[in-house]
Symmetry: C2
Subunit: 390 residues, 2 copies
């Protein structure tokens, strides 16, 4: 396991913006046979693409998002000022260089960002699924994405890449369709959730379901379980940061000059969490949060399930971050251990950061160079560090 601890910061990402982009939708009849044994169809996937697919169709990269992410990974939507969630990494001259690569970002089923999920209308009833939506797994998300990649007529992806739940999807792509993936970049992720990770998700779910406004998932006419969902997201945000990043960002600074001696937000950190919770309610569906956290908890590619067959020649770049205690580095190291055991080509790097799990979105310097070079070597058919061939 080549553990490299980055102590210097690489130059910033650089590159240019993609400008205006649009989310598209791909709908197919299915039905998908899900891991639960249930079926889902028709299925819509929201996705975006950046750059051009080359004649050989050898430059396609599938980028995968985290829990509350969406298909809008880069560029700007018309009339909006905030770019996609991985804009620093995707664009002309950026690590996922759209002058060279064709980058696809697909939303997941079960979500609420344009793809089929619990808020979608169930064809049979003409009403939103709610909790009649079938349970989905990471493998089901990837199965749906494979239909999209088939539709785009791409036989083999140059790379699948993503952080957190995006990293799980990248791993699942290799597990499900190793012959269709030349390389994978799982970032700040795990082969399976530990009981601590399950525990946080369970409290998140209980918080949502404890809100009477949840109404067993049947709230689309009455309004979201705002309070429960807000508390759920506050829990999430604590786990995304680190003790140190919170200290740096908030310390014990007061919102006003003095302690309030009431149940208002005395400290800045309290105000921040309340703001984040309230904001999340406006942009994410409570049922999707329930379904997706279950998919995370069910995910388990340990015990040889990541690389089941022989002769898998997918190359890996595995990244983790020092202060990430939600997906600690030892979980990434376990991924690498599994790969090495199966003689799969893998490079591992633990990046220095105080940002906790948020690092995969904000700690760009370290990732930039590594990802740029890894993609180049894969695209140009070079193995890790030792010249040419393939």
């Amino acid at each position: 396991m080549e553990a490299v601890l980055k102590t210097e910061t690489a130059p910033a990402a650089g590159g240019r913006s993609l400008g205006i982009v649009e989310t598209r939708k791909y709908t197919f009849a299915g039905p998908l046979l899900l891991e639960s044994g249930e079926i889902l169809g028709p299925v819509t996937l929201a996705y975006e693409t950046y750059g051009k697919l080359n004649r050989e169709k050898s430059n396609a990269i599938l980028v995968l998002h985290a829990l509350s992410g969406d298909a809008h990974a880069a560029g700007l939507h018309r009339g909006e000022k905030v770019p996609g969630w991985w804009d620093a990494m995707i664009g002309p001259g950026k690590p996922f260089d759209t002058d060279r690569y064709f980058v696809i970002c697909s939303n997941v089923i079960g979500g609420c960002k344009g793809s089929t999920g619990p808020a979608s209308v169930e064809p049979r009833t003409g009403k939103p699924y709610g909790t009649a939506f079938p349970f989905i797994t990471i493998a089901d998300m990837v199965l749906a994405q494979r239909h999209l990649i088939d539709f785009l007529a791409i036989d083999r992806l140059l790379c699948v890449a993503g952080g957190s739940m995006g990293g799980m999807q990248a791993l699942q792509w290799v597990a499900s369709y190793p012959e269709r993936v030349r390389s994978a970049i799982p970032i700040a992720t795990a082969l399976k959730h530990s009981p601590q990770q399950i525990a946080f998700n369970e409290v998140i779910r209980q918080s949502i379901m404890a809100d009477p406004a949840w109404r067993g998932g049947d709230y689309y006419e009455t309004g979201q379980p705002e309070k429960g969902l807000s508390v759920a997201r506050m829990i999430g945000h604590i786990t995304f940061m680190s003790e140190k990043s919170m200290e740096e960002k908030f310390s014990r600074r007061l919102k006003n000059d003095r302690l309030g001696f009431d149940f208002g937000a005395d400290f800045e950190v309290e105000g921040y969490l309340r703001y984040r919770g309230a904001n999340f309610v406006k942009r994410f569906d409570a049922n999707s949060y329930l379904y997706i956290t279950k998919a995370l908890d069910y995910f388990d590619l340990s015990g040889g399930r990541l690389i089941a067959g022989k002769g898998v020649d997918t190359r890996f770049l595995v990244l983790s971050f020092q202060s990430d205690w939600l997906y600690p580095s030892h979980q990434s190291q376990e991924i690498v251990r599994q790969l090495k055991r199966k003689r799969v080509d893998a490079t591992y790097c633990e990046l220095k950061s105080t940002w906790g799990h948020d690092a995969f979105l904000v700690e760009l310097e370290g990732q930039t160079t590594l990802i740029r070079h890894f993609l180049e070597r894969t695209y140009l058919g070079k193995e890790n560090g030792n010249g040419n061939h393939r």
Copy 2:
């Protein structure tokens, strides 16, 4: 800073049970002038005592409990089978040896275990205080306890000792009344909450207050906000354990043989948290949880406030636990640093444990020997390791 990392486990506590004990109550008119500027009175404190006060009144030890603890630290209540929360440490032949010492355990104001708190009847209205209860701080809790110690006619305590919030009270005793405390044993505690600790408490409070059954704190006739309080406690329990202790206790074991594909408890860890949450609702008042977590967040003896004056001769034994990420060792080390800066006699030990914050209640072997010897040396008037005098 004498950091000793215990690698061997000391012999178990041993000793005999105290047998049947009773909680008593001490009520005084007050009113207490609280840190908020408000007043509280009359004030009742629930407390227990074990052993006998000697003629010189030099053998009294005040034991202080954590957030949801109570005055019942040791022995058995008539008709009950579960002993007090620190029974392994207090009794004849145990580290807090009741053949030698007179041990007092006092409940805190703001709580719901027999002392004046938000569930108590407000004399002015004849109804429970609810959120009309004044905000209290750790210093206010200690002020009330000082009245109890006055009532017991004890001029100087041999020791104040406790873990977590009990450790904060121990520190506050020294800060408020250094001349009345010969020694202190703060365990798994801090001079102040970090923003991460505040954040967890804030989410706990928001979870309670998000429950419509909370009714602004006015629920004593309608019933507790059970769901919100249960979720709050589940959050707490995650922070009390460590990643490793959860792995050892639960791993990814399923409650039933297979995944349920529903929102039931699939994994044992989920069942455990639900059980703990549901159980807590039966034994603790939601408003007390709100008030006490605020007191924890307000606590701040940093910046020289722990030892304000000169010539403080209180001796310290400071203990922390390796896997405790709620009150990490660096916070205990900061206590010791403050003490050393003021030339106060302090011994520090980081004990080996995988139990996380729960360690202060369950990791007995390491604490036993250290506490026993520290108390003996203090009682017999010996300084740390260097023979006689005082």
